[in-house]
């Protein structure tokens, strides 16, 4: 655990660090203790407040919420990715009257809060809240996907496109068969990371009255009584974080797996004298 930022700790520095760690842990523990005591004074830890979780109905409602969250995210992701590809191709098109309007649209979509797009679709098109949530997520994330893929294409060596054109492919064929596959593979970690953002943003559905996990939990607390709000909120937050952490881990795993291989799928040959990338 040595770092370039500080010397390898000697006995004295280790002692100081240990004392620092102990003080730090005590401080954090103190904060947690105060929080727990405050909660206990409100009677949060009384067993009957948590007893609701022994009822199957409660878990059914939570499962419905998770299902609504995941289905909105899945539908949005499945639509947003091809749309993002299309927008990306239009954004880098050789034809100015396709490229320039696409650029303006992308700029517009990226500068807009997702929740505003959801509300817009909900009110202006008078759709169901599910469609509003999916439409908001699709509009925003397809713009982001387009930008990520564009960054991937721009990061490719110039020779890829030149070679494609040299063997007689049209510009569009070269984009589609040579550059896109490499760009997508190269940007896979960013694309999966954006999926986490998409999944997180489904919680905005709460604001447009879509019955996702947070809304399901609030409805439940309204029905059961305010004293159950904290327990059900706690469980909902834990579920959300657990799902997102799992997808984030997936992104990190893909990144590690991808970095072992070069873009062409050939084995990466370590160069003598360079430190392994962390």
């Amino acid at each position: 655990m040595s770092s370039v930022l500080y010397d390898v700790p000697g006995p004295k520095a280790r002692r100081v660090s240990l004392i620092g760690s102990v003080i730090g842990i005590i401080l954090i523990a103190a904060v947690v203790a105060v929080a727990v005591m405050t909660l206990a004074q409100q009677g949060i830890f009384e067993s009957q407040r948590w007893a609701i979780f022994s009822q199957a109905d409660v878990w059914n409602l939570i499962a419905n919420g998770i299902g609504a969250t995941l289905s909105a995210a899945a539908v949005a992701a499945v639509i947003a990715f091809p749309l993002g590809l299309l927008l990306c191709l239009m954004r880098i098109s050789d034809i100015a009257w396709i490229r320039v309007p696409t650029r303006i649209v992308l700029e517009f979509l990226r500068g807009m809060p997702v929740v505003l797009m959801m509300l817009f679709v909900l009110l202006v098109f008078a759709t169901s809240s599910f469609i509003a949530v999916v439409a908001g997520l699709v509009l925003y994330n397809s713009a982001i996907f387009a930008e990520i893929i564009r960054a991937g294409i721009q990061s490719l060596p110039k020779g890829q496109r030149e070679a494609g054109l040299a063997i007689g492919l049209t510009s569009f064929q070269s984009r589609l068969t040579i550059e896109l596959p490499q760009a997508i593979r190269r940007m896979l970690p960013s694309l999966v990371a954006q999926l986490v953002v998409l999944l997180k943003d489904t919680s905005l559905g709460y604001i447009v009255a879509y019955g996702e996990l947070l809304r399901a939990v609030q409805v439940m607390a309204d029905f059961l009584g305010p004293q159950y709000l904290f327990p059900v909120f706690f469980v909902a937050a834990a579920i959300y974080i657990a799902i997102n952490l799992a997808v984030s881990r997936l992104a990190i795993w893909i990144e590690k797996r991808g970095s072992k291989k070069a873009a062409g799928g050939t084995a990466h040959v370590p160069v003598a004298g360079t430190a392994p990338a962390k």
Binding site: Y6, S17, L116, N244
Partner: protein, 216 residues
């Protein structure tokens, strides 16, 4: 169209409140995020662990959950706010700080190793190495990503509108209720004011990025 002109005072009020939320939360998040990044590379294990856990958990928490906690759950636990702006600022800055910490940490990693080694070899302690040598260079290189995080912060502040704060999105909802026949124009007006903040910031990020790229 007339609705927008008619409700300009509300829009303006909401615009200022959005700016206020973004600026205050942005400053708090920049300070807190930089401290978190410093803790993440510090020699003290407890600080490293805390920073790592905080960033990992908060980055994977939906903002709506953070807002719900600050604006709905906390008051029922006895922590009441005079104004919901304070709840919004707590949620926004706690959320954004995690992203800023990650950006600053990647900046710290991008500073050439020789810089820290040279600083240490002339006898600097960790605090000095970090604050005098590494952070000034790291912060410079991460200005474009930091601006992008601030753009996201401006957009994220719209969630406050759903939690009792009358900023742009909050006014948008209210005006949409009052003018049921012109909902589209009301929301287009809201969108315009958001773009008024985010598009110039985006251009600023591009310009800075190009400048930094040339400097290297």
């Amino acid at each position: 169209m007339d609705v927008i002109i008619e409700s300009l005072p509300q829009y303006w009020d909401g615009f200022l409140r959005t700016l206020f939320l973004a600026v205050v939360s942005g400053i708090i998040a920049l300070v807190f995020g930089t401290l978190l990044a410093a803790a993440r590379v510090s020699p003290i294990a407890a600080l490293r662990g805390f920073s790592m856990a905080y960033v990992e958990v908060v980055r994977n928490t939906p903002l709506t959950i953070a807002f719900f906690f600050a604006a709905v759950v906390l008051p029922r636990l006895g922590v009441t706010f005079e104004q919901f702006e304070i709840a919004a600022i707590i949620a926004l800055s706690a959320y954004t700080a995690a992203f800023i910490a990650e950006a600053v940490r990647s900046g710290v990693n991008s500073v050439p190793v020789g810089q820290a080694e040279a600083a240490r070899s002339i006898g600097m302690k960790f605090g000095q190495v970090l604050s005098l040598i590494i952070l000034p260079q790291a912060l410079r290189t991460v200005i474009p990503p930091l601006i992008n995080i601030l753009i996201a912060l401006v957009k994220n502040s719209s969630v406050a509108g759903a939690f009792y704060v009358l900023e742009l999105f909050g006014y948008g909802k209210q005006l949409a209720n009052d003018h049921g026949d012109a909902v589209m124009w009301v929301l287009v007006g809201v969108a315009f004011f958001y773009l008024l903040i985010t598009v110039p910031l985006g251009y600023l990020a591009n310009v800075v990025e190009r400048k930094v790229a040339i400097a290297r």
